[in-house]
Chain length 287, copies 6
């Protein structure tokens, strides 16, 4: 009975947070352990469904670089990177799209459906949701790496209003229908700005932004977009963290209230961030 009591208390503690976010949009960038560990997959799926049930319009964005590399290896094709971006020739683009749209996305759809959601997988090609052009680079031709021109949220809104949870692969299209590979963190940030969402939550395999990337005890709990930009300039930020931080800054600069970097290795990190006072990870505000 005492245990029941505590459970009820916990539900009640969530009430003010539910009241705060109900009816608003949240973009969840799914990645890292949350994508590979079956336990963590289930955990995120449950969190997403719970958010949806308490009236929050969640849109999930995912990439899947590791899976692409695995498939490339299986097909004996070498993966090349320039400045952290995968050089994407036509064959690589075909494989990337197959893996993201045909493997990662349906798997995530099934996970969220299994947790009780009504989920619809999309790529940025659907309804021309992510219109992009070729990304120019000073470091050489990146091939079909896309730069976002515009995000058309119409089909996403149609689906969320009908109660669905859209899951979006980070594949874009140009006006000729050519597919492009886009960094999923970038897609999440731009999407949060376009919806607009009130929150962008990025799941990764680190505790958040660390003052000293080598020392997990130096977690920065909250900082402003300007402070985050200063940290980026200092360039002691971990390479994988750079696009995440940039997309967070982009989002809060464009009207998103808060961007969060949280540790996807912790079960229910998403709920913990949203529905408890303490919160976890790093929060970037518009400062």
């Amino acid at each position: 009975m005492e245990d029941l009591q505590k459970r009820a208390d916990t539900l009640i503690e969530a009430l003010p947070y539910i009241q705060q976010w109900a009816g608003k949009s949240i973009v969840v960038k799914y990645g890292g352990a949350a994508m590979t560990d079956p336990e963590m997959q289930r955990s995120v799926a449950q969190d997403v469904v719970l958010l949806r049930y308490v009236g929050i319009e969640v849109v999930v964005v995912h990439g899947g670089g590791n899976r692409i590399t695995e498939m490339m290896d299986r097909l004996d094709i070498e993966s090349k990177f320039v400045g952290g971006l995968r050089v994407t020739d036509a064959e690589t683009m075909q494989i990337a799209q197959m893996v993201l749209v045909g493997e990662v996305n349906p798997q995530l759809v099934s996970l969220i459906n299994a947790a009780g959601g009504r989920t619809v997988g999309l790529s940025g090609k659907d309804a021309n949701t992510i219109l992009c052009c070729k990304k120019e680079s000073t470091q050489g031709d990146l091939g079909f790496v896309g730069e976002i021109v515009e995000i058309d949220t119409e089909v996403l809104h149609a689906l969320t209003e009908a109660g669905y949870i859209p899951v979006l692969s980070s594949i874009g299209t140009d006006t000729d229908g050519q597919s492009y590979n886009i960094n999923a963190d970038t897609v999440a940030g731009e999407l949060a700005a376009a919806l607009p969402a009130c929150k962008l939550v990025t799941l990764s395999d680190v505790p958040g932004l660390l003052a000293d990337p080598a020392d997990p005890d130096t977690l920065i709990s909250e900082l402003t977009a300007s402070e985050a930009e200063a940290r980026l300039a200092e360039s002691n930020v971990n390479e994988g963290m750079i696009p995440k931080l940039e997309s967070c800054i982009r989002a809060v600069r464009s009207g998103v209230d808060y961007a969060h970097l949280i540790d996807g290795r912790i079960p229910h990190a998403l709920l913990m961030e949203l529905f408890t006072d303490a919160g976890i990870g790093t929060m970037i505000n518009s400062g």
Copy 2:
């Protein structure tokens, strides 16, 4: 952190229950300690608001016999009862209505508003919601004690669809506009049948239905409507429990899925009943 983890687990444990009840109506009969103890008042108010936020359409029904008696005493008028029902002459009716509609109802509205709800108090006179006639009794003239003829749920549905939590006083009206005092348990049961609700939850100051009313350890966790009727016939049921049990039977006989008798002295008993596996109190099913 560990604590946060447990909290998130608790929220997730609630998910299947939320999925089960979202979009459905629940009638909460408010009474006993939940009505007198400030702590319990807040607790019920929070529970009600949480239910509403996760998509459950809650309607609260209340009476308030103790408060009526207090006011009668203050005005030096004697309270008379026949067969557990207050003999209600014109003056008593005036006082009962003042107390229920003008004191208990607004207080409950304020409590639920304070917990974050959007609450509207009503009596059965509003929009002629509770149409009743004079209750005839073999034990003498009961005065303005009403027997429900019909419940018109139109204004209740209009309010719940607009996101409000209606709070209904157990006062009815006849076609001439004369007010009647009605047993609040009876109102709750008829209302649950009329909406229709999927659940009727009655809060009182006992743990539920006891096999032996004198022994709190004899709680019956679940029984069918027929079994409940048999118990009523045996007449070792506590007098105050009779109308509660009758209204539960009436409700499940009329299409309500489950009727619950729970202990309103336990904080968040309402949530505990709805959102955890164990449940508390007594559940009556249609058997």
Copy 3:
């Protein structure tokens, strides 16, 4: 037949007025004889229902000082007034709320229902409709006398759009749920401004504004808000008339087209004012 002819002519005379007001809101401040005389009660109720049927969205506001005083007397509590306002300690507040919300309001609901309306009684506590704070006075502590901070018309609009006639008691709430007693004329004026209404009609027991309060033959048929302010400054205005005149001025200053002071002792004064050329009482325009 000749009589029938005249009746039809009368209905036709009303046509241009119906066309003028259909689809607009009118606030009726109910009080005086219209509240105490059974004949006048019925008369006002019929008028209100007729207005509603011809497409006018009527909201009725009422106070009930006399009834509060009667109840105070019955409970042997002395009524104290400062500057025309009832000094309202906690006990007085409880009684005022019981009387207004639990007695006067339901009675009015029944009257209008009996005349064929679909009526819902509300206090300013419902859906936090009348948010107020404590009114400060240079003449001493008034207790729980409220000053209106904001009127939230959402639930009123939801009800009028669904065809209901809301009847609002002049009780407000602060953000903590504490009840406050507010002058009903003030509530009517602020509500007319907030809806916004096209007309505020105040029923009282005088023919209107009199140039010489002592001489009923000195009725002023129409004046501007500025002229009305000048009269207030002259202070030969009857004390009871002061808040009525102030609320009329407040309303027309805030976008209400016309404010009317009419004699509630005349049967169907409300219809006479709205649906005939001559009109009765005093009309204040925005000048």
Copy 4:
């Protein structure tokens, strides 16, 4: 003042009738003096607009035999009748349509617009509202005299729901687009059945159905459809009254509550019938 009082009383007397008919459809068959006398035209137009304002969905049906005959005369074409029906060759059909659709209908539209209505004139050709076939007669070829096959009320409902008053000429069409002349009383009866309307009111130049057609003092106030049929069989019914009576019988036999034959020479006869206790003319009920 006393006069004002009577006016208000009259409005209040109309209230129960307004409550009874609001939201329902009424078909008004316009004809006789109401069509020729400017005073009566205005009177009917005002009545129709008032009905619309109090929430009654009015559809007006008109013919115009006299005007057709006038135009025929002006064009030196002889009017021929068989069994009360105009023998309608192609030229006559052209003239009938021009007069009804191009002269009578727009005039009526202007009259009702001038009284404050929002009026749209239609013929049975519009949206194929009145589908008919050639009427066969044992008395010879009637030419383009139509027999109604079906009335499609879709465009009428679309217009009444948008607040318009449709005015329908008694011209029908077959599936090839050929126009047909139809008795306007017949159209009114079939339309009342098809909408369905709760009332059919036929305006003509007699006080109603007379027991002795030669004696205006023998007005029958009310009779059943069966009694009306018996009277038709007795054949002492005035020839012009036959189709009116038949359409009334047809209407009440098909679900219309009441059919009225009233004297269009009396100003505001329409209002008098609907909004006063006494009523005028003859009412046929479904018996």
Copy 5:
């Protein structure tokens, strides 16, 4: 099979045009051979229905001077013209309205219905759609010739949104309900501006605007509104073409994208203009 292939190719050629115009309004000014030749009537009706089916909201406007003159002759009344406008005394107005509203309009309604449309005929008197005043002329009193004051498109929008094709006669009304005769080209231009339409297409019996009115080989395919004005000033424009050109200029000056003058003697000229690359006739752009 080869023929089928060509047909399919043709349908596909129409696709980009359908995409361009779907969901937009087009005003078709019907006149000339399209009004007199049965083959051309059917052709235009089919074109209009096809436009409606592919999602274009078509409104048809028509006049009918020839038919009016015919009827005037039949009634032995002389037709008088001043500056190309028919001098319209009361009798002429009556005849013009009968012919346009009672003959030409219903015939066009039947034609479009026969081609599969759902058509509703209106005059500018219906719902006071075309409000006008008397047109003053320096060349003498024109009688009831109207000058457009305002076009109220509400009933037209209500009908097009419900899937109907409105057909509008060029008859207007003043605020007293007096009918006026208006040039149909002028009505079409003002209506296109008021809706607003994206295109105004005027059907007449010439190939379009000719540089040399005497030489059909001098067709001007496209010109700007300014160039069209210059041509008007040069006054070698054919008299009948003047109001057409003026209404085209008026339309494109008021936000209509393009105005077309096309040859209504060519079967399906309307489709050819809209759904093929080549186009026919003269197109006026806003330059």
Copy 6:
């Protein structure tokens, strides 16, 4: 000009077909040359978009066995078939899903978008649209080959009502989220029955059903479902044609009006079938 005339005539010839199918659903089973030949791909995409623009709600279903085999080969995995069905172990399922959902579907989405459609790709896993179980076979374990249990059309209807063209991959899910490979012809037939569609059109590389599969001149233009069953029983039907014929029979037996087998190697075969009198291929009716 003459050519333009013919084009217009062709458009008009399509009108009665457009009227017949507008507002109804059609399922197009895409496959064969239409899937491999770039010219044919564009052709089908244009046809689909044209259908959508004239108001037909098209849903496209595709499989892609050849592409799966290609990918299997590239990964050095052998393709095994039993009774025409691909034996689908876990690895094969992963590859099939990647190819269908991640390659074929997005390519088709891009094609239709490029032709002007608003297209959304889905698999049967999205919103649990295709619920299936393991297909049992007497010829051995088929692995993850699915048998359809139920098709939930909710998300398809939501998308078509919002103007989108859904493109559905023939991948299903069981209640645990396990993917299954399903014959695309079977999916198309079941989907047509579930929507319900008025037509099922199957594109393949043969002219239709041939009386003698070896002789293309023996095309059967129309047959009943019973006749088609008889032909299946005779078993001289080409193996690839069997599931197509079965799905056609299933569809017309379940309320679909017509099922068509047409030659996807002919440009615009889809339009030719729908919008010309002659039609092509084989049509199966419910007989």
